[in-house]
């Protein structure tokens, strides 16, 4: 998780990463590639962003869905990768990329083997070997240098942990515990085959390696913390220049050492990718709507609410002049309010909060139909098999709860709780829209007699504050999306003490045990049922109040394709995008 590269746009949502999966793409079908034109090679694609820089460029540190999709599609090859397709089920299936196939599991899912393709090279022409993948993977362990990235390597690889919970291996820089790592990740004599030995069965480990955290890094070029300044490409492009900040640009040019024959995954249509940093969101919208000059082959990540009425007929259909280049799709994220169970231990009070909340007003404030559907848990329908309705608003709380909340029932619950009506504080990352949402929270809880105090936090500091148990308050605004199409990247992250996003401070022994069991369940169908039950359980315990299954709107220039939201990451399908030649 991490904040999205959209900066302010999604600041209110906050954290997230991810990718979505399986099953119905909810709502409208996506439009087909721009104007039906044939993809051709050449041209420049422009990526307009409000952000002043990428959160991370270092492969082991990237953890934002859009960035994973962008860099995976351009400069970092991974052992496996998600299929390019607008169809959710297809897009969340994996194909081989750097590896010859999608990996072989043995030992009950505790050992995974991948063979690296011939002809795959870095930008200096040297071949990508098993050692490079292993070295890249090992960097994740240097938690004092390589910060911000996913830590699945640490939690999954068979390396003992120390008393304080940290790994006995401290990464390649200190070399402490190197032998432990070298045992966990081994290379065949020819350097072609890499073997990962895991501490427990991970049936979906070949999904985990789609993350660039498992991408190869040549040891000789590693500059530690500063590796992101000059990373070594293994993909069809390489970074020619990168200047952060307003007015800054990142220019990706073709990597002439990349051999198309070794890569049947990436199409590599454009000659150049240009990322323009620090543009005003209004400017981006305006430029894309006008779509003149270079902007015809430009893309961006979101839309300001004021433009929605201009571009769309309804939340699912664009106006004719924007047909084919505007999308409105469910994104991978679930928006919710985490309730800090350490500070609100009384279940009745938590229920009262959930019951009193005016989710209708919150959704309207976020954009109504455009903002998405009401959520009933932290697993979204586009997660496929892992989703099942929890019945949260129908029966879970003892009655059917209207979308606008039921203050009377909430009052009753408070009365039953045996406690006085509580005073709680609501933490949220500040923005004008979030301020209004806070006003809704304050008002609707107030109707049930709960005193809520808004606590706006500067967006850039938000997670720094709310992850600190000393500073976090009772109610915490959040959003989360899965890291790959398995709720193993949701439920454990959100609801167990070892999870990385447990804003609720939830620590339920029974629950934890059930999670551990689900994690190693090899039967995907059984596992799905387990996640469904855990999702329902968490809702029943009101660990969070889910508010919305997010939907997002995006627009591109007139001469760019294909135009669909790639369900794998809820992103543009960078690896197969092209400029339409006139």
């Amino acid at each position: 998780m991490n904040k999205t590269s959209k900066g302010l746009r999604l600041a209110a949502v906050g954290a997230v990463v991810a990718l979505a999966l399986a099953a119905c793409g909810g709502g409208s079908g996506s439009s087909d590639a721009g104007g039906g034109a044939e993809p051709t090679k050449g041209g420049t694609l422009y990526y307009l962003t409000n952000a002043e820089q990428f959160d991370q460029i270092d492969p082991q540190r990237i953890y934002t869905g859009e960035d994973l999709a962008f860099f995976n599609g351009t400069i970092y090859r991974t052992l496996t990768a998600y299929k390019f397709s607008p169809d959710a089920a297809e897009a969340t299936s994996i194909v081989a990329d750097l590896a010859t196939d999608t990996g072989t599991a043995t030992n009950g899912g505790k050992t995974w083997e991948f063979t690296i393709r011939d002809g795959a090279t870095f930008q200096d022409g040297s071949p990508v070997t098993c050692a490079d993948v292993a070295y890249g993977t090992s960097r994740t362990f240097a938690t004092d240098v390589i910060t911000g990235g996913p830590t699945y390597a640490i939690s999954m690889l068979d390396i003992p942990t120390l008393e304080d919970g940290s790994s006995a291996y401290k990464g390649p820089y200190t070399g402490e515990g190197q032998e432990l790592f070298d045992k966990a990740v081994t290379c065949s004599a020819d350097g072609k085959t890499i073997t990962f030995n895991l501490s427990r069965p991970v049936p979906d480990f070949n999904y985990a390696v789609t993350l660039t955290a498992f991408a190869p890094v040549p040891k000789a070029s590693d500059t530690g913390e500063k590796y992101g300044d000059a990373p070594v490409s293994s993909g069809p492009y390489k970074i020619e220049s990168n200047k952060n900040g307003k007015g800054g640009k990142m220019i990706l040019v073709r990597n002439d050492k990349w051999d198309p024959a070794s890569d049947d995954y990436r199409k590599a249509y454009p000659d150049i990718w240009e990322v323009d940093y620090g543009l005003d969101v209004k400017v981006i919208d305006q430029r894309l709507i006008t779509s003149s000059g270079n902007d015809a082959t430009a893309l961006a990540l979101g839309l300001e609410p004021e433009q929605l009425g201009v571009i769309y007929k309804s939340a699912t259909e664009a106006n004719p002049e924007f047909a084919g280049r505007a999308i409105s799709e469910l994104d991978p994220y679930v928006r919710y309010l985490a309730i800090n169970v350490q500070k609100v231990p009384n279940l009745k009070i938590r229920q009262a909060i959930a019951v009193a909340l005016d989710r209708d007003a919150l959704r309207k404030n976020a954009g109504g139909d455009f903002a998405g559907d009401y959520a009933d848990g932290v697993i979204k329908p586009n997660m496929g098999v892992d989703y099942a309705p929890t019945g949260m608003w129908d029966s879970l709380l003892g009655a059917k709860i209207p979308d606008a909340g039921d203050p009377e029932l909430a009052k009753k619950l408070i009365a039953e709780s045996g406690e006085a009506a509580p005073t709680i504080t609501f933490d949220y990352p500040q923005s004008p829209t979030a301020d209004k949402a806070a006003a809704i929270v304050v008002d609707s809880l107030g109707k049930a007699g709960i005193t809520a105090k808004p606590n706006p936090i500067e967006p850039g500091q938000y997670y720094g504050v709310v992850f600190d148990p000393e500073q976090a308050h009772e109610l915490i605004n959040a959003g989360w999306g899965p890291d790959w199409p398995n709720a193993s990247t949701i439920i454990p992250e959100l609801f167990t003490p070892t999870g990385g996003f447990n804003l609720s401070q939830y620590d339920n022994a029974e629950f934890n045990a059930a999670v551990e069991a689900a994690k190693i369940e090899p039967d995907r169908a059984k596992q799905a049922k387990m996640w469904q039950d855990l999702n329902t359980l968490a809702m029943k315990d009101v660990v969070v109040v889910p508010t919305r299954f997010g939907r997002e709107q995006r627009i591109v220039g007139k001469q760019i394709g294909p135009v669909y939201l790639w369900p794998a990451y809820g992103s543009w399908p960078y690896g197969e995008m092209y400029a339409v030649q006139q």
Binding site: M1, N2, E52, Q53, R61, Y63, T143, D144, V145, T147, G148, G149, P150, T151, I154, D164, G165, S166, Y173, T174, G224, E225, K226, G228, D229, K243, N244, G245, K246, G247, G248, G278, L279, D280, K282, V283, Q286, R287, E458, P459, G460, Q461, G464, V465, F467, D468, Q471, G500, F501
Partner: protein, 320 residues
């Protein structure tokens, strides 16, 4: 002056050491453990007492600084080291240098506009004191400095860019890269910023001129039979502009520290917007750096204005 600067850095340091968000925490990310946090804190030098941090900082200014010298991955920040932003992975000085051009262009352009408009209109009003021209100018001036700059800026965008589409959306480029786009982008910010100051300078100039025109030496100049033109330009203007030089120098220096509001409205990549972003990110080293640079500008400007004063006014020379 040096003492003032030293004092200033100390005050800035102490003030900002009060900030709540833990910068170490912010660079720690997911899977953050107390040990990592402690290591980060050590790397950033935050485990030291404030005064020692200050000492390290001052030392860094003169001899450079190495963060996390005892780790395998030290960060070198060469003198003059204004600090290092781990959030952005860049030396503060480099960040500031990157942002300075936009700020300087904005400040200089607006400065020229407002001085030209403010002084000429102010003199004009003074010469027509009490008549309708004077009253109109004063009215405009009052309206001008009563308009909050952010409202003015937003209105400019609404009318000029959105409704009339006379100019494209502002998008900063260096003047050396694309002069036309540069001017298109800077025009509104210049005007918006200049209006505020010009309104003030009109008044200042007018009142200064009126004061000077009432001086005995102006009567003397007239009694000598000098043409009115010379009386105004040579005798009145020079004396009347002296205080304006002071004000202008200080105002320009203040702007060189970043026009926070104008920059954020027109999304210019200047020091002001860097400052606001850094506040949002609790990027302490950058905030401290910008504060110091800005304050230094102002203090140095004070000095320059004093020197300039001596050039303009011979009486000052003798005293000093």
């Amino acid at each position: 002056m040096v003492i003032l600067l030293l004092l200033l850095t100390l005050v800035v340091f102490i003030l900002f050491s009060l900030l709540p968000a833990d910068p170490a925490r912010l660079t720690c990310g997911k899977g953050c453990t107390p040990a990592v946090l402690e290591a980060n804190r050590h790397k950033l030098g935050l485990d030291l007492p404030v005064i020692q941090q200050y000492w390290e900082f001052m030392k860094g200014l003169f001899v450079g600084r190495i963060y996390a010298a005892d780790s395998p991955d030290p960060v070198v920040c060469n003198a003059p080291c204004l600090g290092y932003s781990f959030k952005r992975g860049e030396e503060v000085l480099v960040l500031i240098k990157d942002r300075l051009p936009a700020t300087i262009w904005l400040a200089l352009g607006a400065f020229i506009l407002w001085l030209a408009a403010g002084i000429s209109v102010g003199v004009y009003a003074a010469l027509r004191r009490g008549r309708w021209q004077d009253k109109t100018v004063m009215g405009i001036s009052l309206a001008g400095y009563s308009l909050p700059s952010f409202f003015l800026g937003l209105m400019a965008i609404f009318f000029i860019v959105i409704r009339l589409q006379l100019l494209p959306y502002p998008s900063y480029v260096s003047p050396f890269e694309n002069p036309i786009q540069f001017f298109q982008t800077m025009l509104l910010p210049w005007i918006v910023l200049a209006i505020l100051y010009a309104a003030f300078y009109m008044r200042l100039t007018r009142n200064q001129m009126l004061e000077v025109l009432g001086e005995d030496y102006i009567r003397t100049a007239r009694a000598k039979g000098l043409p009115e033109r010379i009386v105004i330009r040579k005798h009145a203007l020079r004396a009347g502009l002296t205080p304006i030089v002071t004000a202008a120098g200080l105002d320009l220096a203040g702007l060189l520290g970043g026009a926070i509001i104008t920059e954020s409205i027109f999304s210019l990549p200047g020091l002001g917007s860097l400052a606001v972003n850094s506040v949002n990110d609790a990027d302490l080293p950058v905030i401290v750096g910008i504060t110091l640079v800005t304050a230094t500008f102002i203090i140095v400007a004070n000095l320059i204005v004093d020197l300039l004063y001596a050039v303009i006014d011979p009486r000052v020379r003798l005293v000093s």
